[in-house]
Symmetry: C2
């Protein structure tokens, strides 16, 4: 069995930054450190942080009793302004590890709203990044959607969730413009380049391989996108989050491709390649 691993693997810039800074803090600081929600969409990474001593709480209405003497970390996807206010009012210190690419998108939306633009975001309302965005801007002047609507506005600014795929975004905005009579239009591709590059690689690897494994969080938006892209080309695509999921599966084939999400740790990938070497005498290609 020959195994080709995508070139772009391991944490992306934003996840790496959030993960490293959190670990640094856990090492050097004796103050108790909390994390509001999951730092990233990957349960192995989150478990690893728990093992290093982080405490997670998920409900903003149920703050830890010792918050006044503790630190709290804002996760990579960001949070709403209201949530930030509550954290700032109740914790000794707030560390913002929102991904800079997400922060830039939010700042751009705030700026354009102030200039009088109605904002249309191509994204999923329920994604944490989108919930954070909506809760950080004027909610009366934004629509987060994947469907086409007829709008009453003349000035419109169209952006994207950072983890959507470029082709769908392009289809989305061209359809939006066809359906509406805007007179002043701004369209900005706010997709994370890192995730775009992984998409391009996903196509190549799915074409080359007999079978594809996508390694990443089951609730990770960018991982699911890689799964979809790969599946369209190669129906023998398997999405796993942990190596245990492979135990009862027969992966025998000539050419196996591996893709990973942006919040999949390099050590989880290493574990996968070791497993393949041991069980299938796999040769990992350069």
């Amino acid at each position: 069995m020959k195994v080709k691993v995508a070139e772009k693997v391991g944490f992306c810039y934003g996840v790496n930054r959030a993960y490293n800074k959190t670990n640094e803090m856990l090492k050097k600081d004796n103050k108790k450190t909390y994390l509001f929600g999951e730092l990233v969409h990957n349960k192995i990474v989150v478990q690893n942080l728990k093992n290093s001593g982080i405490n997670i709480f998920k409900d903003i209405n149920k703050l830890p009793t010792d918050s006044k003497t503790s630190k709290v970390i804002i996760r990579a996807h960001g949070i709403t302004l209201e949530e930030r206010r509550i954290l700032e009012d109740n914790f000794d210190e707030v560390i913002d590890l929102t991904c800079p690419i997400v922060s830039n998108m939010t700042s751009f939306v705030i700026k354009k709203q102030k200039e009088g633009y109605f904002i249309v975001v191509y994204g999923s309302k329920q994604h944490p990044e989108m919930r954070a965005l909506k809760g950080s801007v004027d909610q009366s002047k934004i629509k987060i959607t994947k469907d086409i609507h007829k709008e009453n506005y003349k000035k419109v600014c169209i952006v994207s969730q950072t983890t959507v795929d470029i082709k769908s975004f392009k289809n989305f905005y061209t359809e939006y413009l066809k359906t509406n009579d805007f007179s002043d239009i701004i369209i900005k591709n706010t997709i994370c380049i890192e995730t775009s590059k992984r998409e391009i690689e996903a196509k190549k690897i799915a074409n080359w391989a007999d079978k594809v494994i996508v390694l990443g969080g089951k609730n990770s938006s960018n991982t699911k996108k890689l799964v979809n892209i790969s599946k369209t080309i190669n129906e023998k695509t398997l999405h796993i989050e942990e190596i245990e999921e492979l135990k009862n599966k027969d992966l025998s084939c000539e050419k196996l491709g591996i893709l990973t999400g942006t919040s999949t740790a390099i050590w989880t990938l290493k574990e996968l390649t070791e497993y393949l070497k041991n069980k299938y005498s796999a040769e990992i290609l350069d």
Copy 2:
């Protein structure tokens, strides 16, 4: 014969401003006044100004010999920066009567070029407004076209000649976006609202009438657009610039519609309605 005249007739704002200011100057000033090119695309209006004492020259390389003691007027469509420089260097005084809607479009293009956008203009390269625009901006970062091209740029700003029709502009920019992978897009409808309103009226009148007369310059872009719109709906559409052109034509019908271009003077329209009253006992509807 019942005659319905469009509500929007006579000079538009920019033509009215240029015509009135030129006339004021001719009345109160004893300095010789020149006009570089035609003030507007209407030979009756131009002839009228000639009768009032204006002197026209068309070649920037053949300036009047008395330029140093004379005034020169910049026409409503604007001129290039180079032409402006020559006028400023050679005349005693330069009066800029460029239509403010055209000036605003030019300023917008200059601003966006400075911000790093490649400019795509939906327009006709040969139109004076477009020649003036091209000659006033960085020519290496602009394309004036009615065709779709594949571009090498990521940041693009799409605008329109002020006299094109909105539907064609919309088709143009949606096709442009489909063909290209821009990541930062600005689209601004820089069409003159006055001409858009006349288009809407043209459709109504062409639908109502048995025959339509479009009164306006044979080389006027906005007049030709009204002719095209009317002809699509009503093939009995006649484009005339002067009443004389009607002398050998039989206009007999129940319902006659009249449209005019934005540089057609109200007195020419009046001459037309008088002609119809006298020859066909026409009733002019309110």
